[in-house]
Structure formats: structure tokens, C-alpha cells
Symmetry: C2
Subunit: 109 residues, 2 copies
Amino acid sequence: MGVTKRHIHSMRANQIADLAKILSNPARVAIIEYIGDCDGCLCQDISEKIRLSQPTTSQHLQVIKRAGVLKSQFKGKAQYYSIDARKWEQLQELFYDFFEHTKSKMSEK
Amino acid sequence: MGVTKRHIHSMRANQIADLAKILSNPARVAIIEYIGDCDGCLCQDISEKIRLSQPTTSQHLQVIKRAGVLKSQFKGKAQYYSIDARKWEQLQELFYDFFEHTKSKMSEK
DNA sequence: ATATTTTATCGTAATATAGCGATATTACAA
DNA sequence: TTGTAATATCGCTATATTACGATAAAATAT
């Protein structure tokens, strides 16, 4: 049927999948890389940098933002985006734990 | 148009996106968790464990395998899957570097 | 109020993904 | 060779994703 059956999986598996989805598109990876560089950048600048249209860039920004990884702030007419350092750290830990946990189970054999 | 424009992004961004895609579905996360537990398990057992049909499970296994994260080996009529520890380590490092690199750029400001 | 600038949303089209039943393939056993 | 068991592939449907042009909304400046 084509709908992911979230309910049959653990909270943790769903959480990891949700956050991995942020990074599962190269445009979003590029956006995060660029925002890391400039610290507080405009949608328009990002759009130019990654060479995607303004609407497409804005949509990707919303996806990352909905997951809680981005902060944004209006200054004048422009909206400045930056990475939420706390959330970024949490995200890193989640992935780290998953990798380590999987490794530790492997090495028991 | 709806096709991801891989060519406008860096190799690195594409690589991260490709590997994140493996984890972007909770069924695949659950499969990896389970394989870590049993170390050499059958498609059928995985299918029962994660409560998805055998064809669906097999397809997810192929996705993970194509990315190089799974090894498989026939013993009799059964195919035993296990995680490629080397590749798993590489994957972890790629993510780790990406997270750290992004953080270090943030802290410079 | 009007114009300008920046970002967000809407509508739409093309492609990708997730899932399953039916069937094919593969390997062993009798 | 025939049967059985395990896995892979095919064909299909439903939903999700990616992208863009057009347009709306928000904020400032004139």
C-alpha cells in the first residue's frame, strides 16, 4: 500500500528514522553545511548557494525546522536561519548511541 | 519535476544522503537492530520479528545490502544476514565527522 | 498609502518509496 | 525427479517526496 507502518515499530526506531530523513536528501545536507558556515543566513543566499529555487529551498528549510534542528529569527524583512546547537547535539547523540549499541551487540558474538 | 538533483551537490552531501536513506525508514532501523542481536539471521525470522511480510522484508534487506552495510551467506537453503562491521564503522565515522564539522563551524562564531 | 524586498504557501507534475500477493528461483532432501 | 523450504523478484497500488512557477504574506522604506 505504500504507507510506512510506523505503529508496528518501536518509538526509538521511528525517532531515528524521522531524524535520518532530514539528512536523506543532499540539498538538506548542503543547507546544513552552509548554515554552519555563515551562522544566521537568509533563505535567498542559501538558495543561490545550493542552486535550487527559492521555494524549493524554503520548503527544505521548513522540513529541517519542523524537526527542531533550525532556529529562525526575523531581522527587518529578512529571516535569519541558524542551527539549534542543543538539538544538533541531541541528534548526534541519538545516532552515536545507535551505532555504538549495534556495534556492542556484534562484538558479543 | 520531482527528481532529486544530485549533480548540483557535492559528492560528500550525496554520500551522506545515500547512507542516511538507509536509516530513514523505521523498518530498516528495526532490521538493523535485530540483526545486531542475532548475528546471522534469516529473512523469515526478521520478517516475523518486525511484523512485515517476507517480500517487504526482503526488499528492505536488499536496500541495506546495496549500500554495503550487510553481508549475506547461504548455509543450506537459508541465507544468513549479518552486519558488515567495517562498513558500519565507516558509516559511523562519516556521520560523526559531519556532526563535528558542523559543530566546529558553529562554535567559531 | 505604495513600492520594494524577502520569505512562505499553493498548485501541479514527475519521480520515488513502501507495502503486499503471486510467482520464480535456489538449494537441499527423499 | 519430485517435493519442500527459504529467499528474491515481478507487478501493482497507494502514498510520499522533490521541484518549480505563480502568488500571497510580512516587514520596512519612501
